[in-house]
């Protein structure tokens, strides 16, 4: 079910990214229309977060210890290893791909379903990668910033990448032929809910301090999200070892235009 949703979202996004009439609108018109939508959707998400997700995450934080939350974070991080392995492979990082596979094998077994990161202790550091980065590597354009209902800030490439990586989630594959059974459905939706509640709880202090320190929260989140994506710019068609040669955050302080 999750896979179908992800696929649907991917295709609808690709459709959204292209103008159905084939006519060219002025870029600034499109931008300002998108900005109006983005701010409205951001406010909607903000209200949902304030009234539903944040209170649940607060409750979750109250009944769990940091140790438990660390186990939960590790469990979901481990489920991302197969996607990392595939994307490392697609980007020609063969050693990293092997390491992701080894990490998944070690942590799923000895690390008790990934809840403990045994592999890092053995020197097998995390080699996280994503389909978003793979597309960036092959110079797929990022597209405009837009806010997705519930999910939050995104770009078309980010969202397609997110959907593609979700397809590689081993938990979905493990439960794939058991979708008629109630426990499997509960496990699928329950784990997704737990993943996002845990993530929200772990980011509580950061998001609170960001909101407190801003006069336009939407502009802050948009800026931070897009700056974080600048790191992908330098990897387009560049040899892997050159990817970190230029600082993405270097800019001219004398520049007066925004």
């Amino acid at each position: 079910m999750k896979k179908i949703c992800a696929l649907f979202l991917m295709f609808s996004l690709i459709a959204c990214a292209t103008n159905p009439n084939g006519t060219k609108m002025k870029a600034s018109d499109e931008e300002s229309k998108l900005e109006v939508y983005n701010r409205a959707m951001f406010n909607f998400n903000y209200q949902v977060d304030k009234k539903v997700l944040k209170p649940i995450a607060k409750g979750y934080k109250a009944i769990t210890t940091q140790g438990i939350r660390n186990r939960v974070t590790n469990f979901f991080n481990n489920l991302e290893e197969p996607a990392s392995a595939i994307n490392n492979l697609l980007q020609g990082k063969f050693a990293d791909s092997g390491q992701s596979v080894a990490r998944f094998a070690v942590n799923t077994t000895l690390g008790l379903l990934g809840t403990f990161d045994v592999a890092s202790g053995w020197g097998l550091d995390k080699k996280q990668n994503s389909f978003d980065a793979t597309m960036a590597k092959y110079c797929v354009p990022d597209g405009p910033f837009f806010v997705v209902p519930i999910l939050g800030p995104a770009t078309p490439r980010y969202l397609v990448g997110w959907g593609a990586d979700a397809i590689a989630d081993p938990m979905d594959w493990a439960l794939f032929d058991k979708q008629d059974e109630d426990w499997a459905v509960i496990a699928t939706y329950g784990s997704t809910a737990l993943k996002y509640i845990n993530k929200r709880a772990e980011n509580m202090a950061l998001l609170d301090s960001l909101e407190e320190g801003s006069v336009d929260f939407y502009a802050t989140i948009k800026s931070a999200f897009l700056q974080n994506r600048q790191k992908f710019q330098s990897i387009c068609a560049a040899p892997v070892e050159d990817s970190a040669s230029a600082a993405s955050y270097d800019f001219d302080f004398e520049d007066e235009e925004d």
Binding site: Q66, N70, T73, N77, K126, E202, A205, S209, E212, G213, S214, V215, D216, Y218, A219, T220, K222, S223, A224, Q227, N228, Q230, K231, A247, S248, Y249, D250, F251, D252, F253, E254, E256, E257, D258
Partner: protein, 196 residues
Amino acid sequence: MKKLCGFLFAVSLLFSFKAVAIDSGQAESFIKKVTNEGIEQIVNSDVSMAEKDARFEKLFNEYFDLNYIGKFVLGRYWKTSSEKQRAEFINVYCDFNTKTWSKRFDEFKGKSFNFVGTTPSSSEGQIFVNTTVNMDQGEPAKVVWRVKDDGSLKIVDIIIENVSLAITARNEYTAYIKQAPNGVDDLIKDLKQKSK
């Protein structure tokens, strides 16, 4: 005449070199000093919150070039602002940052910065000092300090996980001013309110 031109050229070269060259070792030592002071004398110390805020304000004014940052974050609106608005903005921007950062810095309690080299900047007389902070969970956080040398060393930007605080503030403030009925004055008013 030729001699005078030669002399002037030599002097200008000397000055331009002074502006271009920034010693990576010195910049790193400077950031070590700032972070040590920040963590040992403020975050880890057992003093009252008011005393912490006061110490933080001193550190902020001493080691950050707030005029330079303030001018940058107003973007194109710096040019169109009056002298009074500029002065008021810089003033309130300092207060606001002192307040938010003295709280944020508390998150570094019990932690230390690892120094992992420097990266050159395309801007003259500036350099990036790269540090990492070991977090309780997951990968270490990447914190980069942008240092400017124009006689004395000053911090002009902090980049946390690729996100520049100066760029974020500029994007935020220019977006705010664009929407506000009274432009910069509204921003100043709002920042004053939040600094209380």
